[in-house]
């Protein structure tokens, strides 16, 4: 039996709430039938509204409250149904939670999990489409997790909540349709999780996270049909960022395409490239690494513009072919 990405998230919540009395979840939409897709359906009736708490429209207050409970022995998961709404809570995430351990000398833990949903497309426009993983990956002290498969959606949620550090867990509504057979749940140590090689090949390395990792896998399948074999690396944990697997793969294939569904300037794709450049002898590279990102523009609404705004499998394949073809690239 297969399970979808949204349902797998719900499995993660169910496991946590059933097995860890210190876990509770709080945020907007938790008593709603539709607000967070099918990822938390009926948790409130299953575990009670004392542990599955819907809230006023107060992102900053709610996030701060979750942090407070985390300092008192609980493992709260605060829910932001959109990344955009979460930006009102940046102070509590970035200036409070992420720094709490360090600024108190490493003596106390702040095991809050902030779950925010990337919810793009559908002509929702500029204020309802941000993902911003590059922002949060930039913040020391904050672990940033982006699952791209149902299994990871479930198991990395569990690992996030059980981590003693604050974690930002980002899931993407575009992945909710993805189905797979789920292995039994295993409690993993988030500090041991990181990028993973999900396909191997000699010609090119495709790197992405979340929905971009999914696009990379699809692109790799298409490229394989063209005789081009890819390493595909799913970043999974963006911060603290461990580039070693990417570096190893870059040395092997000599070509890297970094794909990210966030903006370009100072984005995660830039980090992937910089990390490679710092560690890989350029002479082993067969082409310079390249990135595929959003253009540096706010999201539009109009459907034709939306279609050219988001990276697609087609576009990745096209860029990959160019990169592989460019045995000798031309630079102006």
């Amino acid at each position: 039996m297969t399970t979808g990405y949204g349902a797998a998230i719900r499995d993660g919540f169910e496991y946590l709430l059933a097995n860890h009395p210190s876990v509770f979840t709080i945020g907007q939409g938790l008593w709603s039938p539709w607000y967070v897709g099918n990822s938390m359906t009926d948790l409130d009736s299953q575990f009670g509204r004392e542990r599955v708490i819907d809230t006023p429209v107060s992102e900053l207050g709610t996030t701060g409250a979750a942090l407070g409970a985390a300092l008192c022995g609980y493992r709260p998961i605060v829910i932001h149904p959109r990344v955009d709404f979460m930006l009102l809570a940046v102070d509590q995430i970035v200036t409070q939670a992420a720094k709490w351990r360090s600024m108190f000398g490493g003596q106390v833990a702040a095991p809050i999990t902030v779950r925010a949903i990337i919810n793009r497309g559908g002509e929702q426009g500029a204020q309802h489409s941000q993902s911003l993983q590059s922002w949060f990956a930039h913040i020391p002290g904050l672990r940033v997790v982006m699952p791209s498969t149902p299994t990871d959606a479930r198991d990395l949620l569990i690992a996030s909540v059980l981590s003693d550090d604050p974690v930002l867990y980002l899931d993407d509504r575009w992945l909710y349709g993805l189905e797979e057979e789920l292995p039994p749940i295993e409690e993993r140590n988030l500090a041991q999780e990181g990028p993973r090689l999900t396909r191997t090949g000699q010609d090119l390395t495709l790197v992405g996270s979340s929905y971009s990792a999914h696009l990379c896998r699809e692109a790799a399948a298409r490229l394989s049909a063209n005789g081009i074999e890819c390493d595909v690396i799913d970043i999974r944990v963006l911060n603290p960022f461990d580039a070693s697997l990417i570096i190893k793969s870059a040395k092997k294939t000599g070509r890297v395409l970094a794909v990210d569904g966030d903006w370009r300037t100072c984005g995660m794709a830039a980090e992937v490239i910089a990390s490679i450049v710092e560690a890989v002898d350029p002479r082993v590279m067969r082409a310079s690494p390249r990135r595929v990102t959003l253009p540096d523009a706010p999201a539009p609404t109009s459907n034709p513009l939306e279609r050219s705004y988001y990276p697609t499998v087609d576009y990745i394949v096209q860029r990959a072919l160019a990169l592989v073809g460019a045995q000798q690239e031309t630079f102006e």
Binding site: P56, V57, G61, E123, Q124, G125, H128, T293, P300, P311
Partner: protein, 360 residues
């Protein structure tokens, strides 16, 4: 206790009283003959809004309109009542549920219907959809869907109006849910301390998405916040255009006289779900029961009957209001359907003044 000590206690309560009771205020509203011209044109405008929103609802249900649409069907009176006191030079801001605000201020149905289809002829040139409306000529300076976001922006427009010094004001429309955002409180304090000419209009429709105000706040009326921030307030039946006009007039007169901000709580109810065309009867506290009764507090029919009794409206004219609205809306829709989409370069050319944005 000692002289230096004072204290007080509270119980969770519903200060809204009768206004919260869906059984009440079903009767025709009481109207003043002196105001009948304005009420008549207000009725016509409310009917136009209703028809436009029903059209949009239908197109959403058919999958033709794809952007998220938050319909204000049933909530037409606050928009129209307040708009009646907006003058050239004022600046009005709305939120996610602002079709009514846009149309009440005189916005073009075609501009709205093109925008919800993502057309280049839309009011935001296809870059905003239902949730981002603008119409500078008609004093609408912007509506956006981040809850509470336009409240401080409206305060800034009020500061600008004060600097302009010609009696202009800013108007901020928002819902009961927005009063839970810190931005709302910061804005009220700032406006109060700077005596900025701002009319805060809270349309209290009891719900933020699926959640009833009784589950989000310790009291159902939000005027207590105005009290706290020392902003003069009034609360009225938001489905009674005459009442809305009366409280608005008093507030706007004070604002234009330099007395600083004012706050209105207009109690109303939305007939459709939070987003989309459905009625969402199964969502939220008592919604199904209440909806039926709230439909009897219809701002349009209660006003129409009152104007008929007053003798300033007859059946044929009322019918004409509806048929005219349908004609206007159908025509606007058809034109918009044939309009073009924004050009591909719009993505990068509309980000900065005089600089193209960086491509992928």
């Amino acid at each position: 206790m000692r002289a230096s000590v004072e204290s007080a206690l509270y119980e969770t309560a519903s200060s809204l009283g009768n206004l919260a009771d869906a059984e009440r205020y079903h009767e025709p509203i009481s109207v003043d003959a002196a105001d009948s011209d304005a009420l008549l044109s207000g009725l016509e405008r409310m009917i136009l809004i209703r028809v436009v929103e029903e059209k949009i609802g239908d197109m959403v249900s058919q999958g033709v309109v794809k952007c998220p649409c938050h319909l204000a069907i049933g909530q037409e009176a606050p928009a129209v009542g307040v708009a009646g006191y907006v003058k050239k030079g004022d600046r009005v801001f709305g939120a996610h549920r602002s079709h009514g605000h846009f149309l009440a201020l005189g916005g073009s149905p075609h501009g709205l219907l093109a925008e919800v289809q993502g057309k280049d002829t839309g009011v935001s040139r296809g870059m905003g959809g239902s949730m981002h409306l603008i119409d500078i000529e008609n004093n609408l300076f912007g509506t956006v869907p981040i809850v509470g976001a336009t409240i401080p922006i409206a305060v800034g427009a009020g500061i600008a109006a004060k600097m302009d010094g010609n009696g202009g004001m800013a108007v901020s429309f928002f819902g009961d849910g927005a009063t839970e955002e810190g931005a709302f409180h910061e804005s009220m304090n700032l406006a109060a301390v700077m005596k900025a000419p701002v009319l805060f209009v809270c349309e209290n429709n009891f719900f933020s998405s699926h959640l009833h105000i009784a589950l989000r706040q310790p009291d159902t009326s939000v005027c207590r916040y105005a009290e706290a921030h020392r902003v003069g307030w009034a609360r009225a039946d938001g489905n009674d255009l005459a009442a809305v006009r009366a409280v608005t007039k008093e507030a706007v007169d004070a604002i234009r006289a330099g007395e600083g901000p004012r706050f209105l709580e207009l109690v109303t109810y939305r007939w459709r779900g939070h987003v989309g065309h459905r009625e969402d009867e199964d969502v939220g506290v008592k919604r199904k029961d209440d909806l039926t009764r709230w439909k009897l507090r219809d701002p349009i029919s209660r006003l129409a009957v009152a104007l008929e009794s007053l003798g300033v409206l007859d059946r044929p004219q009322l019918k004409r209001f509806w048929t005219d609205a349908h004609t206007v809306v159908d025509e606007a829709w058809n034109i918009a359907t044939h309009d073009g989409y924004p050009p591909a370069k719009a993505l990068l050319s509309r980000v900065y003044s005089g600089t193209m944005a960086r491509k992928t």
